[in-house]
């Protein structure tokens, strides 16, 4: 029925109106694609940082997730090496996992004897080589690999603290931390003086008997799994900002062996968790199911948690951006809807006589409806395609503009880049969505055109 030819020529015939409508659609596409790219880049960047820090999956002793924070020693994995071997030897998990590493999480008090300062800490004991490898995870090619973790496989006493912890413990000068003021001098004496810290320091020196290598020194005090106090020397090589103040004020990363020594003392050295970092995040559900099944099959009283459960903020960020994107998409869809409805309504009004003519020539109502729907769809196709081209150009401009911003969970501004990762599904979704919206917008005028009595249409001047 030459529907396409007529649609195409009518769109070209009303060039100005077509230009206005397709521009509205194109602007919608540009807005959605740029914002969508920004959301994807932000979420993937956040995911990259989270996965580098926590891995994709963590295996804990059953109950650790709910109760272990109060007593990590009581919820440890005793024979963690066997569990790691079990995971590594599994044909599926062995292939999916890039890093399988044990960790110890513990809580204690850090003391700087030189200025009599103390602060509670949340310690993370990791295998430096494994941690360095995890820091290079970059599935989406977004973030530069994390710099040196500050830990050393050869020297278990060295580690890293959060900038907030360094500030409280007066390490800023020694660690050359920028924008980090020294603590005010206190004159507390007698009952208020931190006498226990001195004792801790002395206890540490007595127990280890070896001086720590160069760097800012701390004494770390924690209760062992058996409940006895334990102290180790710790050399702070660097202070890294953690992005969240609560974490920044308490974070302390140390060698896995040192953490074991602090948490388990002279008892059996265990691990609090086994962390798996996968090659690809899309394998997460599969790996989690496989790992859960594997542990259950071997009757191990262990539980598996993914990084979304360990870092609820990750889910919140995705939810927030998703909601904003949906809001923007809704606004754009409404603009497109009304723009196309207006254009198609004018077209129907102008072509009322033509509608009567083609109906008299034998076209059915549904042919008329199809004609106008096709024109609406064609407007959507032209506008959405033009929008994609514009969005790509804008994206290149933004990436070359040298803009910076502070993403959620980051401690320092990063270059604002609109990544190409995940762009194809986004383009496909936005293009299809707006073309469908444009077609649906034409439905009302098209149905009105189809319902017109032939005689009335022919009478229309």
């Amino acid at each position: 029925m030459k529907l396409f030819t007529i649609a195409r020529r009518n769109i070209r015939r009303n060039a100005r109106r077509t230009a206005l409508t397709t521009t509205a659609i194109a602007v919608g596409v540009v807005a959605l694609l740029l914002f969508g790219q920004f959301v994807i880049t932000t979420v993937l960047g956040f995911q990259t940082n989270t996965v580098r820090r926590t891995g994709h999956l963590s295996v804990f002793h059953a109950g650790y997730f709910d109760f272990g924070a109060g007593n990590p020693g009581a919820y440890s994995i005793a024979d963690y090496q066997s569990v790691m071997r079990l995971i590594q030897d599994d044909s599926v998990l062995g292939a999916l996992a890039d890093v399988i590493t044990p960790t110890v999480t513990l809580y204690g008090i850090a003391a700087n004897a030189q200025i009599d300062a103390t602060k509670t800490f949340v310690g993370s004991g990791v295998v430096p080589a494994d941690r360095a490898r995890m820091g290079r995870w970059n599935e989406y090619h977004l973030e530069p690999a994390h710099p040196d973790s500050g830990l050393s496989d050869g020297d278990i006493s060295r580690g890293v603290v959060g900038v907030g912890l360094a500030r409280v413990l007066g390490l800023c000068h020694d660690l050359a931390v920028p924008r980090c003021p020294a603590p005010p001098v206190t004159t507390a004496t007698g009952a208020d003086a931190p006498a226990a810290v001195t004792n801790v320091s002395e206890l540490s020196r007595r127990e280890t008997g070896t001086p720590a290598p160069g760097g800012a020194r701390l004494d770390l005090l924690a209760a062992t799994a058996g409940g006895a106090p334990n102290v180790v020397n710790f050399v702070v090589t660097r202070a890294d900002p953690q992005g969240v103040k609560e974490l920044d004020d308490a974070y302390l990363a140390m060698h896995f062996a040192l953490a074991q020594e602090l948490l388990y003392g002279r008892g059996a050295h265990e691990a609090v968790a086994i962390v798996l970092q996968l090659h690809r995040t899309e394998d997460l559900a599969r790996a989690k199911a496989r790992l859960t099944g594997l542990l259950a099959a071997h009757h191990l009283d262990l539980e598996v948690r993914d990084f979304g459960e360990l870092v609820p903020f990750y889910g919140q960020v995705i939810g927030l951006f998703g909601a904003i994107f949906s809001f923007v998409a809704t606004i754009m869809a409404i603009i497109v809807l009304f723009s196309v409805i207006n254009t198609m309504s004018m077209s129907v009004m102008e072509r009322t006589n033509e509608i009567g003519t083609v109906r008299a020539l034998g076209l059915r109502r549904r042919d008329v409806r199809r004609q106008f729907l096709l024109e609406g769809a064609l407007l959507g196709v032209i506008g959405a395609t033009a929008g994609i081209v514009l969005a790509v150009l804008c994206s290149i401009l933004v990436n070359r503009a040298g803009l910076h911003w502070m993403p959620p969970g980051q401690s320092a501004p990063v270059p604002l880049r609109l990544s190409a990762a995940g762009i194809v599904p986004l383009i496909g979704g936005v293009w299809t969505g707006l073309v469908i919206m444009s077609t649906l917008a034409a439905l009302l005028p098209a149905s009105r055109a189809a319902r017109m009595p032939v005689v009335d249409s022919l009478r229309h001047v």
């Binding site: 030459k2 034998g362 109502r365």
Partner: protein, 232 residues
């Protein structure tokens, strides 16, 4: 395309006590009232009457683009009263050709495409469509204007294209509503001559509404209508 094997002497159009009343709120206006009429096939028939007499309404009823409020209509031996809207569309597509006062060509299609347009619903091969379209353009003397759009044609040329479009599918009936009203007398005369020639050539039933005296003088059958009723 219409199967040309009507019963001998069967009328092309048979109206029996046909009325059409338009409901204007509280008032009903009878545009056509109790018309009973047989229009013979393969003739050049003219419906004559002053403006507002019901000529166009009668033509619309015969053309199945309007439905009567009372009475029955048979076109080419088939009652159209019970046909659904889709069936009426199909019926028009196959059996009825229209020529309008204002030409009503589709502005975005060329002359060739306008003439070809009715054939697209008939399931013909592209080659057959081309053959029929070119033949009809040749018959109306506009083969050299085949690629022109309607806005590039004169009024007379547009009406020639409209006649070609009406006849290209060889319908049982061609209905022309005041086909010369928008043309000057010279062009109008040419169009009348063309319609007569085409009618004689195709042996199609032509039913024309008009108050053009020039056109009336060429009629084989003339029906007078006044105030919605036929005059004897």
């Amino acid at each position: 395309m219409t199967d040309r094997s009507p019963a001998p002497n069967a009328p092309a159009v048979r109206l029996h006590q046909v009325s059409k009343t338009y409901d204007l709120g509280t008032v009903g206006v009878a545009a056509v009232h109790d018309v009973t009429l047989d229009i013979p096939s393969r003739r050049f028939s003219v419906i004559v009457g002053p403006s507002g007499s019901g000529k166009t309404t009668l033509l619309n009823l015969i053309g199945c683009i309007d439905t009567p409020t009372a009475g029955t209509i048979e076109i080419d031996g088939r009652s159209v009263a019970a046909l659904t809207d889709d069936a009426l569309s199909d019926f028009r597509a196959h059996h009825i050709g229209f020529v309008f006062q204002t030409f009503n060509l589709i502005p975005v299609l060329t002359a060739y495409e306008n003439v070809e347009y009715p054939l697209l619903r008939l399931g013909l091969t592209p080659a057959r469509r081309q053959e029929l379209t070119l033949g009809m353009l040749d018959a109306v003397g506009l083969l050299d204007r085949a690629d022109r759009r309607p806005n590039q044609l004169s009024g007379g040329q547009k009406q020639r294209i409209a006649i070609a479009r009406a006849l290209v599918k060889s319908p049982a009936i061609v209905l022309a509503d005041e086909p010369t009203a928008n043309l000057d007398s010279h062009t109008g005369a040419a169009i009348i001559a063309l319609m007569q020639r085409m009618q004689a050539m195709s042996r199609t039933t032509f039913i024309i509404s008009t108050h053009d005296g020039q056109l009336m003088s060429h009629a084989e059958e003339t029906y007078h209508i006044r105030d919605g009723a036929l005059e004897s």
